[in-house]
Amino acid sequence: MLLSELDIWFVSEVLPLELSLMRFLRRNWREESDMLDLRQEIYVRIYESAARAIPDQVKPFVFTTARNLLIDRARRAQIVSIETVADLDSLELGVNELTPERHAAGRAELRMLQIALEALPPRCRRVVELRKIEGLSQRDVATQLGITEDTVERQVANGVRALADALLSKGVQLKTKAFGGVLAKKRLLS
């Protein structure tokens, strides 16, 4: 897939905010089962609006979009009380939502990937390790583990979803000091 300028913007500016966005949604919306659909709709609104003009300030834009969506949803849903809507209306974006955030660099990134990898189920983890650490092709992974290529493909599909959840939505906690410590603390606060 050829990445457009918009795609690159989305991946490098919006996706790093996913952790804060999910926290914001959980704080302000009670239905846990709505979370993924909410995130999807917010991303669509952001992406389609940015297709017309890329906003200067990404973070306020993302959270304003999220807030407006929650207000829309609350108004449409009959069962939500007036108070909730009023609450959302007055919802202010906290300082945490306004500080810039980036993907971790260098060593911290490697540690985060490692921790996310260790959390995968054993077989899935083995497949991802051989594919990404050893650089084997899916076919060679299948040969080495004595499983079919279909199984490898299925494990890659499961693995990438679990990694995305760990790295983007849930956030990986780094236990190391120095850079990692600062990062982990920042994530706890935001």
Binding site: M1, E5, I8, S12, L15, Y43, V44, D140, E153, V156
Partner: protein, 324 residues
């Protein structure tokens, strides 16, 4: 399952299939039309493929070679526990088989890794020997680091190399018809069709034609020197240190222009952006400008041209025309 989850599952299937080398043109067409169906599809796919690509950095964890791997099994032997001994042997056997299978398939080299960046992107890559690469915009390269040697093929674009010192294994970069050999140093290589540029920030590198039978003596390029070669022609320029820093500022996502013509500056911006700058007038193209910009900030640059130089900027959506 929610709607978003279903879409994510399909995106993951596409990504996993595409990750397999058996990916066909029909597969690509199917993916393209699925992506075009809805923004939700495109976003789900972008999100997963971004994470999957980030996983490439895990290659930095690769063990150096079969000997080191077998040690894992050996060191476990002194713990006199049957389970541990058994586990140790299994580890040694499994890894041994893996490595031999590998060597059987690829001769004496480990598989090469491919790295690439899109227009406007920049990526830092760690190689197994501790060397570090930064890929600039629109770049494609392949790296093979193993016991026999350290090799990188720059297929397109530009990369900066911070090579870990290892006198037993020279680090060789192949770019166009040039071969650049180093032991441990910091330098960048840019390929622009047949033209190859090497800028050395620290240490010495040797630049030679790739074909071994030529009798041309290799050129040695040292600190703060830049070499430009095209076909048989080689030009070495000694540059002030500050200028070398400017030329390598793309590593921080910056373009630094110092008395550069507008045509050159536009060409630099165009490397990083899909929407290209076009200078309509030769007098305008020859104007000299200076300044520092983010590689993606064409808008800021054109605003400055409008305000500072009273030039006309016309953005028709496909390209940005600059004229008097």
């Amino acid at each position: 399952m929610s709607d978003a989850e279903k879409i994510e599952a399909i995106a993951a299937e596409y990504l996993a299939r595409r990750d397999n080398s058996a990916w066909t043109d029909e597969n690509q067409q199917a993916l393209d039309s699925w992506l075009a169906e809805s923004t939700t599809h495109r976003i789900a796919y972008l999100r997963l493929s971004h994470v999957w690509q980030r996983g490439d950095r895990l290659s930095a964890l690769r063990s150096p070679g079969p000997q080191a791997k077998q040690k894992i099994g050996v060191t476990r032997l002194p713990h006199f526990s049957m389970q541990r001994v058994a586990a140790g042997i299994v580890v040694a056997v499994v890894l041994g088989a893996g490595w031999f299978g590998w060597y059987g398939l690829n001769g004496d080299s480990s598989p090469s890794l491919h790295y690439s960046t899109a227009v406007g992107a920049r990526e830092s890559v760690a190689l197994a020997d501790g060397s570090r690469l930064i890929l600039n915009t629109d770049t494609r390269l392949r790296a093979a680091v193993n016991k026999a040697g350290r090799k990188v093929w720059l297929e397109q674009g530009e990369a900066f190399f911070e090579v870990a010192h290892d006198s037993s294994r020279p680090f060789v970069v192949f770019a166009g018809d040039r071969r650049i050999t180093v032991l441990g140093t910091r330098f960048s290589v840019r390929r622009h069709g047949d033209e190859v540029e090497v800028v050395v920030e620290e240490g010495r590198v040797q630049v030679a034609p790739q074909l071994a039978q030529t009798t041309v003596t290799p050129t040695v390029v040292t600190r703060n020197q830049k070499i430009v070669s095209e076909g048989g022609n080689v030009l070495v320029v000694l540059k002030p240190a500050a200028q070398i820093v400017n030329e390598l500022s793309w590593r921080q996502g910056k373009l630094v222009f110092d008395q550069m013509t507008l045509a050159e500056a536009a060409a630099e911006f165009n490397r990083y952006n899909v929407k290209k700058l076009v200078i309509a007038d030769s007098a305008v193209a020859a104007m000299r400008i200076g300044g520092s910009f983010d590689t993606g900030n064409v808008v800021g640059f054109t605003k400055l041209l409008q305000q500072g130089f009273a030039l006309t900027v016309n953005d028709n959506g496909a390209e940005i025309k600059i004229s008097k």
